[in-house]
Symmetry: C2
Subunit: 376 residues, 2 copies
């Protein structure tokens, strides 16, 4: 994996770059649509590649491990083959879902035991077997196994947690470095900075993580309920420590405003379920603000879903039609809204990149954030 910086903003820490993987290049900053269980919900792979123009998608190790399972994924030749997606894929470590989805879980030094949210069966995730699992899934970028602390989190717990996360990282690296990719293309391992909302812990964790000198670095444990200002403060602290010449991935973030503010702080990669999940519930993100398409005011609005967009479904369908579909629980409503939001998120990061290259990012960003959070 190669990371090349293309441009640096002078009024902020924003940077434009390019990541090269075994499945092609990624123009950063980038947003990665979440493809939970081998599918970005309600979207065909053809639409993802040709219409939304996603450059990389994310798969969830927890979901993929439980269903379809490693046996099938390995027989398929990895997730790319299984789902027919030939661009880059990143997988998380499964930790986040273990902490948030499975009811019974027990964190020990060895790893985490948990029960499947599907059938209650018992499983153990360790730093070692999570590396093996991600080798089998075959993502281009894989994540270290960490503990993602909840918000709020007591200082003492957060401190002990990062220490374990760093010990786990050592085990991840040892396993990763002593094994080979299974499908002929390289994989990169990203470690994850934790430390809740405590500046000194975030610094300590960032230093520890940077020390491992992996091909990229991630920040986890944010966007879990803390105020946005705390998130930005932590991103800033961490980005000052993480190496400049490697991509930085802020996990699970966020709203369009969050994304722009974090780009300004030096983040290159994002993922979030918000455009897909909120889309299915009728929330549309646009460059002028947020639309709740269920509202009465869109009932007789026969204008295109997004007149600023070039996406087929934004042009072909009206707001009134989409409102009817979402209101009636029709699948096509979820399909249209998801496409819209993903296309908007991909537009947003592409535009940010162009503004960085043009040297106009900072003012553009400040103007955009005023509009993006408005309710239309």
């Amino acid at each position: 994996m190669k990371f090349q910086q293309v441009a640096l903003d002078t009024l902020s820490k924003a940077r434009a770059g390019e990541i090269t993987t075994g499945h092609g290049t990624i123009q950063t900053p980038i947003f990665m649509p979440v493809g939970t269980a081998g599918t970005v919900k309600a979207v065909h792979q053809r639409e993802l590649a040709n219409d939304v123009k996603a450059q990389i998608i994310l798969g969830n190790t927890y979901h993929l491990y439980l269903r379809p399972g490693l046996d099938i994924l390995e027989k398929a030749g990895g997730l790319h083959q299984f789902m027919n997606w030939d661009k880059p894929i990143l997988t998380d470590s499964g930790g986040y879902q273990v902490y948030s989805l499975s009811e019974v879980r027990k964190i020990k030094e060895e790893g985490v035991t948990f029960r499947s949210h599907i059938d209650g069966s018992k499983h153990l995730f360790t730093p070692e077997n999570v590396m093996d699992t991600q080798r089998i899934i075959g993502a281009d970028i894989i994540m270290a196994f960490d503990e993602c602390t909840p918000y709020p989190c007591e200082y003492g717990y957060a401190r002990k947690s990062i220490e374990m996360t760093h010990r786990w990282l050592k085990r991840c690296c040892e396993r990763f470095d002593s094994t080979e990719p299974k499908y002929g293309y390289p994989q990169a391992l990203f470690p994850i900075v934790q430390g809740s909302v405590y500046k000194d812990l975030r610094e300590k964790s960032a230093e520890a993580i940077a020390f491992f000198e992996r091909e990229g670095n991630a920040i986890g444990g944010l966007s879990v309920g803390e105020p946005a200002e705390e998130m930005y403060a932590m991103t800033e602290v961490v980005c000052n420590i993480l190496p400049q010449n490697k991509p930085r991935y802020l996990m699970g973030v966020g709203t369009p405003v969050n994304i722009l503010e974090n780009i300004a702080l030096g983040i290159d990669m994002f993922d979030c379920v918000m455009p897909t999940r909120n889309g299915r519930n009728g929330m549309l993100f646009t460059r002028n603000g947020i639309i709740n398409i269920k509202n009465e005011k869109w009932k007789n609005d026969f204008s295109a879903i997004d007149e600023d967009s070039a996406l087929f479904s934004d042009i072909n369908y009206s707001k009134a039609y989409l409102r009817h579909l979402i209101h009636s629980g029709e699948m096509l409503g979820a399909q249209i809204a998801t496409l819209h939001n993903l296309n908007f998120y991909l537009w947003l990061v592409k535009e940010a990149r162009e503004q960085i290259i043009a040297g106009t990012f900072y003012n553009w960003k400040n103007n955009m954030v005023k509009k993006l959070a408005q309710r239309l």
Copy 2:
């Protein structure tokens, strides 16, 4: 509306034809995907037109009347505009859903009072207002308001019912003929033959319906639970009476075998929820038989969904992947299976048409029906 016969089979009553509407031509025999509430569930209009190559779709008056409602449909400029579909549309009269979906309904000479299955509100459908409603929806072909008798149905009830259906038809025609289309293109009204599974009632009804000399004729009240042989017997009786030079539409039918057998009896048009509804549950129709994709046997089958198909989703995705999606309740599973089934149904009627024109329909049909109902 014009109907032109292109070819007649010599060994059966099958015919190939062409219907010309204000939204283009339809090559018959044809299958019409069901677009219940202004959407063929899980399918984009772009896919319907370009991939599945649907030539005409069906809308349900009952659903559209309740949601989005006539006010919105009229302001949109009719259903074509509302959903952005510029090929022909046929609407049913709403009667079938009133009988099957609404819990409280009362059939009187004036019409039918019923309660909405959505909010329990009370409504009245009469032959006159159903014509007005379909004028507002703006379908190219609209259906007369009839009583669709259940199966089994006592002879006395069925006899009285067709008499009322015929009186209602007179009222439909009077209202239809004294009103104008709203959106600048013509509409055609098809009456419906009823009579349950009683040969003499079907004959009587077909004669009464033919007497009205409308632009096409339909057969209703079949595929409601009766044995296939009874269905075919009724179709045969009715097709012997309905005029040769007008299209014949068999409502709500059916399986691939039902469709081929009824084409052989002289039917030109079909609609059915089976390809879409059963698709969402993982049942795939293929030229070699029926696949239940949920079955264990497809778990490790990484071959394309349908190797005989040219449809993007049949080629791009494997059986194992589709099984995983349906199993996991992922929307993309419903999307893929629906596309497959609609594409197969459209292939089946297109192939039937070509076989009729080539003079090889009868043997081809007999070979196909042996394979189509097999369980794979």
